[in-house]
């Protein structure tokens, strides 16, 4: 079973990320059993049925606005935010907004072009679950990659993980 990082630990995870191809309309979809993240469009089309289904999450692409999920957040236990390219940094803002402005306490998972070099930033912005790009790391390499979560021990700014900036957290000598 593939591994990912959840709250700083390596865990097994077999949730599928459902990606529609162009021929599939969200309305006409039947979902196989098992844990799955559905695209936002599928969620919208099948909210009624999907609400409360075990192991169900919704994933948003980087251009999709998390504000649209807000009315449904109570019935969603996990949100995945896609990094189509790791240089596309929109999901950092999306995650931060989910956690701070919209008060979402469920899982926020980073998916797509996810590498260890972003782990530190992702965790700071409120991602608790990091699913590296498929095939990027062996289990052993992922174990090693946990170190990247601790690249910097005392960051300057306030962020989701540390809501106060350094100048409020520490008494700094003049």
């Amino acid at each position: 079973m593939p591994k990912l990082i959840k709250n700083g630990q390596l865990v097994d995870d077999d949730a599928r990320i459902l990606v529609l191809d162009e021929t599939q309309a969200p309305e006409e979809l039947t979902l196989a059993a098992g844990p799955v993240f559905v695209p936002f469009a599928v969620w919208q089309a099948h909210k009624g049925q999907l609400s409360g289904r075990a192991g169900l999450g919704v994933w948003l692409d980087s251009h999709e606005d998390v504000a649209e999920l807000v009315p449904d957040l109570d019935s969603i236990s996990a949100v995945a935010l896609n990094f189509p390219k790791f240089t596309d940094g929109r999901a950092y803002s999306s995650a931060a907004l989910l956690r701070t402005r919209y008060g979402f306490t469920g899982e926020i998972r980073a998916i797509g072009d996810v590498m260890r070099d972003q782990f530190f930033f992702m965790q700071r912005c409120g991602f608790d679950t990091l699913q590296p790009k498929a095939g990027k790391y062996s289990d052993a390499q992922l174990e090693e990659a946990l170190a990247s979560l601790k690249d910097f021990s005392t960051p300057y700014q306030a962020a989701v993980d540390q809501p106060e900036p350094l100048f409020r957290r520490a008494a700094r000598a003049a």
């Binding site: 929109r90 803002s93 005392t154 700014q157 809501p163």
Partner: protein, 560 residues
């Protein structure tokens, strides 16, 4: 100047370790070129024509003598014996080996320096007035605010992968010496009616292929809120800036497409959530940082040192240097010295390891151990006693750092261009040197007076050609190097974008073209009028006529 505490030091040390590990993985094949690129860029590491190029951050242009010595050491040990001062007050090395970069970064960290965010689509080095703290026209010292913003922007987790690079500049004097109108965010320190400090905020300025002058988004953001306000701007930009087209990805394009009023509305709607939150600055933090920028222990001296007055009278060469390269200081008896990096024998902005070591010694002996880098690619000793100017001049002259041309035609800004840069359309350094060779008569240069000539090797505008009184841009015509000339650009309080005068020129024509432009100016100028003022008054027509001749101008008009 700012000294690191254990927190600051730890962050740069941890960065060195992180980059060492990233470089190891790259060399071991665990990171692809594409994966490594954004990582190395965030550490100022480009792969250029000949070798990697490493850009070292010089926050708001301030250097301590031991940092200058470290730069000299790097130039000597890992490069070909020289460094380059950039138009963003940073330092570049053109020849380091990739494998050596972690070691170089460790050396930098040992003197409280780094290369963090000197490149890449993130918040870059914050630039400012090179005369901060010593200029007579300063209302508020920008340096503490630059440092506060530097810390906020360093490894900001939400803004490490923006649509494009993001540059912030801060100015606190009557005259803008930080080009704030051409930055993604330009901050002007000011006081409100109650005397409280705050910022006028400009947004969406920039050069590159679409030069745009920043627009005012707020006329006063109180100092407590400057971080939350910047965060709101950055968040709107991160979410809505274009990512489909590299050339349209800067914030200026977003601001233009939404219009400043709508952009401001979005920013202030976002700001509601951050304002008064934990990122609100505290008096204690500002006082802590400002405590690093205290007034040095100035002696109380007469306004005019008698020895200095007589040395000037006795030595015309010294007098000439003081007229251009020595500027007034707000403290009586002191002066600001510009050490020129525009020696015609070198590329503009280049400085050798030996020169750097000497400059560090002079800083210790004559200027409280500090040096500044300017965006016009010179170095500055900001606190020299008038009585010591002669000694400084003699040393600088012996070291080739006393070219007495500050602010004159040959004190030009010039990007590395085709000699180094993989993006270049054309070389820029040889054009600069050819112009310097053509205009080597000091009396003539003094007669021409204040003028700014800026050269970029391509539309990216690293050499600020858009805001040069005379701008030169390298263009590619069927694989050949040509140069387009613009006039009327300007930085400072009256920032304007230059206009192209007509067809472009071959390299060999360029000194002659500049000579013709200068001839027109000298013929047209009214008493006391500087070059840019004449261009503004007459428009481009007389210059086109002077450069292309009567027939060519008529013909163009008919074809138009």
């Amino acid at each position: 100047m700012y000294r690191y505490d254990t927190y600051d030091q730890k962050i740069v040390d941890e960065r060195v370790a992180q980059f060492r590990e990233q470089t190891r993985r790259y060399l071991a094949g665990e990171l692809t070129d594409d994966e490594f690129r954004p990582l190395r860029l965030q550490n100022g590491l480009y792969i250029q024509r000949h070798a990697p190029m490493l850009r070292v951050a010089v926050p708001y242009g301030l250097l301590a003598s031991r940092q200058v010595r470290q730069l000299a050491h790097i130039a000597r040990t890992y490069d070909k014996g020289y460094a380059h001062i950039t138009t963003r007050q940073n330092v570049q090395f053109n020849w380091p080996a990739l494998e050596a970069v972690p070691e170089i970064l460790a050396g930098l960290a040992s003197v409280e320096m780094h290369a963090i965010q000197t490149s890449g689509a993130c918040i870059r080095n914050i630039t400012s007035d090179p005369f901060a703290g010593v200029a007579g026209d300063e209302h508020i010292d920008p340096r503490p605010w630059c440092e506060v913003l530097r810390q906020w922007s360093t490894f900001h987790p939400e803004f490490a992968f923006l649509p494009r690079k993001f540059k912030i500049a801060v100015n606190g004097a009557a005259e803008d010496r930080a080009v704030i109108q051409c930055h993604d965010i330009g901050l002007e320190l000011k006081r409100d009616a109650a005397g409280e400090i705050g910022f006028r905020v400009l947004v969406g300025g920039g050069m590159g292929r679409t030069p745009i002058i920043g627009e005012e988004i707020s006329d006063f953001v109180p100092w407590q809120h400057i971080i939350t306000y910047c965060e709101a701007i950055l968040r709107v930009y991160n979410r809505y800036g274009r990512r489909d087209n590299l050339y349209k990805a800067r914030i200026k394009i977003l601001v233009k497409s939404l219009g400043i009023a709508e952009f401001k509305r979005q920013v202030e709607e976002e700001w509601v959530f951050g304002k008064n939150g934990p990122n609100t600055l505290t008096e204690a933090e500002v006082a802590r940082v400002a405590g690093h920028f205290t007034t040095p222990a100035y002696a109380s001296l007469p306004a005019d040192d008698a020895g200095y007055v007589s040395q000037r009278a006795a030595n015309p060469a010294f007098a000439a240097w003081t007229r251009r390269n020595v500027l007034a200081h707000k403290v009586p008896g002191y002066a600001v010295v510009v050490l020129s990096l525009k020696n015609p024998a070198r590329a503009p902005g280049d400085v050798t390891a030996e020169q750097l070591d000497l400059v560090a010694d002079w800083a210790d002996a004559h200027s409280f151990g500090e040096v500044r880098a300017t965006h016009e690619q010179n170095l500055v000793l900001a606190d020299v006693r008038q009585s010591e100017l002669f000694a400084v001049w003699e040393k600088a002259r012996a070291a080739g750092l006393a070219t007495p041309t500050f602010g004159l035609l040959t004190d030009l800004i010039c990007c590395p261009g085709g000699d180094f840069c993989a993006l270049a359309n054309a070389k820029s350094i040889p054009i600069a040197n050819a112009i310097q060779a053509r205009f080597d008569d000091l009396d003539y240069l003094y007669d021409i007076g204040d003028i700014e000539l800026n050269i970029s090797g391509c539309m990216n505008s690293c050499g600020h050609h858009h805001v040069g009184h005379i701008g030169i841009l390298g263009v590619d015509k069927n694989g050949e190097e040509w140069y387009q000339v613009s006039l009327g650009g300007s930085q400072g309080n009256h920032t304007s974008i230059g206009k192209v005068i007509g067809r472009s020129f071959a390299a060999a024509e360029m000194p002659g073209v500049i000579a013709k432009i200068i001839d027109v100016y000298l013929a047209q100028r009214q008493a006391g009028e500087r070059f840019i003022e004449t261009v503004r008054r007459t428009g481009l027509e007389p210059f086109k006529l002077g450069v292309y001749g009567d027939a060519a101008v008529k013909e163009r008009k008919q074809n138009a």
